[in-house]
Each structure stands twice: as structure tokens, then as C-alpha cells.
């Protein structure tokens, strides 16, 4: 068979490479490393210098909008696409030159890609049959896996007879059969309805803890990313915007994109002064990195709707930071909380004012004044004790915020 020639060549090449230079210096707990990977289709660059590690037993989520390049990263790790530069290292073994079938990664495709003409147990045993394992061993492994994914009663069924969740479990078991180096999930819950999705998410999380195999998930759903990942990498236009724990990503976003992609975020222009930040007429205390931010720099401050405190009186709690006075413009009830949109007039800091839109602050005053919309959310108890109505004048304060340098336009 001519196809047999290729793996031999690839293996020889690998051996040569290992003899020529010391193996890639990655610590053993790194299960998967993607190092400086870039990818082009013709002249368009779709990935640029992607670098990250996944530790043993860790779950990393690649979060990004469609077209961000996250699927391409997954396909490069699996060996279904070739990178333009960079390499992929699995447990210390450089697999960049190896074809997909020699990498030993487990891919759970979005549509699961179960073999339609094979029963559940044949699907699960496929990897071992291909590897010419003994019949007894295959039967034993398949039994164990059927038990693990709780499909013992469905072993003789065909994929078309299973529900979406069951099919997904078969797909996972099928990869676990050959002890994959890493599990790659391509939009694993895309084809399911919301309720099943939430349920399956927890199931998979529990399963992964049990088998302790590192996993990389791809999703565009931020809630899914925060819940599934030990760490989350936010991908935008082919590069990693930020990588960190869900807590870090949500609470201290590194870029404006991250801040706005993960949930609602308010952004205000600010100027860096020696020991504080100037936001309009307000001064916010800030301990800024002197290296990164210089006096007079324009920055943005980001805060979440739940970080905003609105008060009808002039009293602001000492641990809150007063921003200014605003007009209530819209109030909507969103189940667990109330969402209030207020309009904050712009004042001062003209040197940094960038994306202002002019508004008529009230219908009574005809002067157009630049103003900024701010979204605040208030939990039920607060919403019912201090009622607000449209047109109310409120004092806006924030409990916490993150400072972002002005985003340089990244060329991709």
C-alpha cells in the first residue's frame, strides 16, 4: 500500500530530528503546547503567533466569534490542517510534521461524526480494531467505556437511534478507547437546545475530571466558556487577546475586545494623572504601573453593569468611586435583576474624548450635550427599596474597574 510509505518516512524524520537536536524543552506536566503557530490561506493570514500550553488534566476553552480562527487552531493541533509557521507539541513530542493518524489526539466533531453503519460498540472499538488489538482486550475496553459513559443499554444501537447527548458520549468514548493525548471539542454543544446544553456541559466536566485527560474546547458562547474552562483564551481575528482563568478574564479584561465580548461592559475615557485617573470631572484613585502608563496618557476604564451603584441622594459609600450625575433613560426588568440605562454628560478630559455621541440630555433643554450611556444592573431587593423612574437624576458611582490602554489597531 502506498499509504504505508508516508508514516515510515515521517517516523524517520522524527527520529532524525530528535537525534539532531535535544527534544523540545517542555516540562512534563505540559500535555499540549502550541508554539508560535500562524496560518495563511493564500495571502490572508488567519492565525498569527498563537502560543499556549495546556496542563495535564486541564480544560482550556478557546473562545471567539465565528471567523476568529479558533477552529483552525483545533484542526492544526489535530493534524487536519498544517500550520504556516510554528509547532505543536504533545507531551514533549513535536508532532508538527506527523499526519493526523499518528498524533493520537481525540477530536469530538461538532456533528460527532459517528460512523453511521457501525453500532455503538463498534464505533467505540474502532480505534482498537484499527490498532489490531486482541479481541478480548477490545471487548473489555469497550465494556469499561460503555459503563463510563452510561450507555450499556444502547450498545447494539446505531448512531441514528441515539439522542444528541448520547451520540456525543459515544464520540467521547470512541476517542478515550485509545488513550488520547488530548481531547479536542469543536463547538460541542452547538447542535443542542439550551437546556440539554447546560446539562451536558456539567456531565462532560464531571467526565473529564474522572478520566483526567486534558481538553481543549472551542466555543463562541461566553457563558459556556466561563463554566467549562479551567482557563479561557479569547481569540479575536487570529490572535489571542487574553488567556487566563474565567475569573481573570471576566474581572480584569486585558483589552477592550475581551471586556465587551464577555458580557456587558461599560467603557469610559480617562486621562492618567500622577496619582489618580481623571474621568470627566471625577478623580479615581489608581495605582498604575508607571512603566505602562505615563502622566497624560489616554486610557479607558472598564466596569461591569453590576459594578455600578446608583443613588438618588448625594451620599456615596466611601468604598465606591463617584463618577458623576446622570439621567435615568430606560429601565427594564430582566428576571433576576433590573437593568437601568443612564446618560452621563461628558465633562472635562477633552484631550481624550474619542467616541462621544451627542444627545439631548432632557427634552426641556434644547442644548445638545455629549453624553455617554451607562448600563447598571440592580438586584431585586435594591430595585424594590429605591425605586427609580425615567427622568430621575441619579449619582453614578462604581465599585471597581479595570484600566485599559487605548487599543492599538492590530494588523492581522
Amino acid at each position: 500500500m502506498s499509504t504505508e510509505a508516508y508514516p515510515l518516512k515521517a517516523k524517520e524524520k522524527l527520529i532524525e530530528e530528535q537525534n539532531a537536536k535535544p527534544p523540545v524543552a517542555t516540562s512534563p506536566q505540559k500535555a499540549t503546547s502550541v508554539i508560535g503557530v500562524s496560518k495563511r490561506f493564500g495571502k490572508t493570514s488567519v492565525l498569527e503567533d498563537i502560543t499556549f500550553d495546556v496542563a495535564e488534566g486541564e480544560a482550556l476553552v478557546l473562545l471567539g466569534a465565528s471567523g476568529s480562527g479558533k477552529t483552525t487552531i483545533l484542526r492544526i493541533i489535530a493534524g487536519l490542517d498544517q500550520p504556516y509557521t510554528g509547532k505543536v507539541v504533545l507531551h514533549g513530542r513535536d508532532v508538527t510534521e506527523l499526519p493526523a493518524r499518528e498524533r493520537g489526539v481525540g477530536v469530538i466533531f461538532q456533528s460527532y461524526a459517528l460512523f453511521p453503519k457501525m453500532t455503538v460498540e463498534k464505533n467505540i472499538g474502532y480505534g482498537l480494531r484499527i490498532r489490531k488489538r486482541k479481541r478480548k482486550e477490545i471487548r473489555q475496553t469497550v465494556n469499561d467505556l460503555l459503563q463510563l459513559v452510561q450507555l450499556e443499554d444502547h450498545r447494539k444501537k446505531y448512531p441514528s437511534q441515539l439522542s444528541g447527548g448520547q451520540q456525543q458520549r459515544v464520540a467521547i468514548a470512541r476517542t478515550l478507547a485509545y488513550n488520547p493525548e488530548v481531547l479536542l471539542f469543536d463547538e460541542p454543544f452547538g447542535a443542542l437546545d439550551t437546556q440539554t446544553r447546560v446539562h451536558l456541559r456539567r456531565e462532560i466536566r464531571a467526565l473529564l475530571r474522572k478520566v483526567n485527560v486534558p481538553a481543549i474546547f472551542i466555543t463562541h458562547d461566553q457563558e459556556e466558556a466561563l463554566e467549562l474552562g479551567d482557563r479561557v483564551a479569547v481569540i479575536n481575528k487570529g490572535h489571542i487577546e487574553q488567556i487566563g482563568t474565567p475569573f481573570e478574564i471576566y474581572n480584569t479584561p486585558a483589552t477592550e475586545y475581551v471586556a465587551t465580548f464577555l458580557g456587558a461592559a461599560n467603557l469610559l475615557d480617562a486621562v492618567v494623572r500622577k496619582s489618580f485617573l481623571e474621568v470627566g470631572n471625577a478623580h479615581l484613585p489608581a495605582n498604575l504601573d508607571q512603566e505602562k502608563f505615563k502622566d497624560g496618557d489616554c486610557v479607558k476604564i472598564v466596569f461591569r453593569p453590576e459594578d455600578v451603584a446608583l443613588s438618588k441622594t448625594d451620599f456615596v459609600r466611601p468604598d465606591h468611586h463617584r463618577i458623576g450625575t446622570a439621567l435615568v433613560e430606560e429601565i427594564s426588568f430582566v428576571g433576576a435583576y433590573e437593568r437601568v440605562r443612564v446618560r452621563l454628560p461628558k465633562a472635562g478630559a477633552e484631550e481624550c474624548a474619542l467616541d462621544d455621541t451627542s444627545f439631548y440630555l432632557t427634552t426641556e433643554t434644547p442644548d445638545r450635550q455629549p453624553a455617554k450611556s451607562i448600563i447598571a444592573t440592580r438586584p431585586k431587593p435594591e430595585a424594590s427599596t429605591t425605586r427609580l423612574s425615567i427622568g430621575d437624576r441619579v449619582v453614578v458611582a462604581i465599585t471597581s474597574f479595570t484600566v485599559l490602554p487605548l487599543s492599538e489597531k492590530k494588523q492581522v
Binding site: 493534524g79 461524526a113 484499527i130
Partner: protein, 271 residues
């Protein structure tokens, strides 16, 4: 038309009309083969059927059709794989060319083969001095059958290839299968239905082939005479019973093949 007390008049009328129209066009001609063939008694029919030349003609038809089918199914598989997996310049031209034999009159096909392989043909004139003679042999019949049934298996298999999800093969590769293993365990099972129906179509068409066969075979009784040629020859000699016996066999045979195609559809498609 109107509904008369919930009774749809159009329904029985249109069904009746359909059957009535088919009577002189299809049913009666077929029926008359059987009526005529058995009118002189079953023993006469059996004698006509077991005449050495008749048996030979049937066997030759089956054998040549079989080899043409084997070739065209394998070729159809290969062509479908190449033409649905790879996109290249001239791909559509190839697809059209493969499908072309459907539209060519079979006599033209036979004539074309003669002009290529015949003793004075483009290639044949170089082969004849070597003592290689292709025309007027069983090989010529197979060649003609291949030519005429060329697009049939391809036409059934290619659409299945086109709609087959690429991720099945990718999944198989990431699991660790070689290309060959993937083809054998994943791709081929999904094509089983298409292969069987493509083969049956090809075979049925090849067994009935007349126009091209009569040109390339030489129509030598007991040597290169296929079943349809036998019918034609016996009819010309005025031996209606002999022609009729074979006609009955061929009619039953195609009836059988199309029943399988029709009633085993579910089995062929799903699982």
C-alpha cells in the same frame, strides 16, 4: 370534477386511465410473449430453451455483462472518489464525458469501437499483424457493454460521495486509521447501497444490449451470439418459438432485477 358525498371521482378515474394507457404500450406486449411462448405446451418451450445455441447465448450474455459490471462499478467508484474529492481544472469536462455514452446511439458506439479495434482500425491495424484480434470475440462484447453502461454506476455512486460528510473520514484519520482503512471501514459501508444498485442497473442494461453488440460481435451462433442477438437471429430465420423462449427469460430476468432495486430500496440505502 366534484366530490360526490365524500367520494373522490377523480381518483378511480385517473388510476383506471393510467392502467388503460399502459395496456397497449407495456402490459399487452409483455403478456403476449408469455402467451405465445407457452401456447405450444411447456415441453416445447423447455426444448427451445435448452437448445445448445440458446444456452450458449444466455451464458455468454451473463458472462460478458458480469465482467462489464465488475469493471464499471470499480471504475465508477474510482471516478466518483476522484471527481468528488478533488477540484481541478477540467473536472466538469470529465464529468460530462463520463456521462456522455448515455446519449450516444448504441449503434454509433459499436461502430466507434470497430473503427478503433477492427482489423483496419486506428489501433487494430497494429494489433492484427501480431495476431491479436479483439473485434468479433467475447472481449469485443465486453468492451461494447462497458462503453454503453459506462455512466450508470458512476451516476449512482457519485451523488452519495458528494453528500458524504467529510468529517467522517477526518474522524477516522484522527482515531488512527490509514487512508485505506478509512476507505474500507468508513467510506465503503456508506456506499454499499449505491454500489449494489449501480451494479444491478449496469448488469440489467448490459444483458439487454443489442445495437453495439451486433456490430462488434459478428453475431456468430455458438461463438459470439448473445441472448438478444439470438432472439433477432431466430426471428429472422422464422423460428419464433426459439426466439420467444429466450425473450421470456430475458423479460423475467429484468423484472427480477428491477423488483430488487425497487423493493430492497430501504435495505440498500439505510444500513
Amino acid at each position: 370534477m366534484r366530490h360526490v358525498r365524500g367520494f373522490d371521482v377523480v381518483r378511480p378515474l385517473s388510476i383506471g386511465m393510467l392502467v388503460f394507457m399502459m395496456l397497449p404500450l407495456v402490459f399487452l406486449p409483455l403478456l403476449s410473449i408469455f402467451i405465445f411462448g407457452t401456447s405450444n405446451g411447456l415441453d416445447k418451450f423447455w426444448a427451445a430453451l435448452t437448445a445448445p445455441e440458446a444456452v450458449f447465448a444466455l451464458k455468454l450474455s451473463m458472462a460478458t455483462s458480469f465482467w462489464a459490471t465488475v469493471f464499471n462499478v470499480l471504475f465508477g467508484l474510482f471516478a466518483s472518489y476522484v471527481l468528488s474529492r478533488y477540484n481541478f481544472w477540467g473536472r466538469n469536462a470529465l464529468i460530462v464525458t463520463i456521462s456522455l455514452p448515455t446519449a450516444i446511439p448504441t449503434a454509433v458506439a459499436g461502430f466507434a469501437l470497430l473503427l478503433l479495434w477492427g482489423p483496419y482500425g486506428t489501433l487494430g491495424r497494429f494489433l492484427a499483424p501480431q495476431g491479436i484480434q479483439i473485434m468479433f470475440t467475447a472481449a469485443a462484447i465486453i468492451l461494447a457493454n462497458i462503453f454503453v453502461t459506462f455512466p450508470l454506476a458512476f451516476g449512482v455512486i457519485k451523488p452519495v460521495f458528494d453528500t458524504m460528510s467529510r468529517s467522517l473520514e477526518e474522524a477516522s484519520a484522527t482515531i488512527g486509521a490509514t487512508r485505506w482503512q478509512t476507505f474500507w471501514h468508513v467510506t465503503l459501508p456508506s456506499l454499499r447501497g449505491a454500489i449494489v444498485s449501480g451494479a444491478l442497473l449496469t448488469f440489467a442494461r448490459a444483458v439487454g444490449e443489442f445495437g453495439s453488440t451486433i456490430l462488434v460481435s459478428g453475431n456468430l451462433a455458438g461463438r459470439t451470439q448473445t441472448a438478444p442477438l439470438y432472439i433477432f437471429a431466430k426471428f429472422n430465420e422464422g423460428q419464433i418459438e426459439a426466439a420467444n423462449a429466450i425473450a421470456i427469460v430475458l423479460a423475467l430476468f429484468s423484472f427480477l432485477i428491477f423488483s430488487v432495486l425497487f423493493f430492497a430500496r430501504d435495505w440498500l440505502d439505510v444500513d
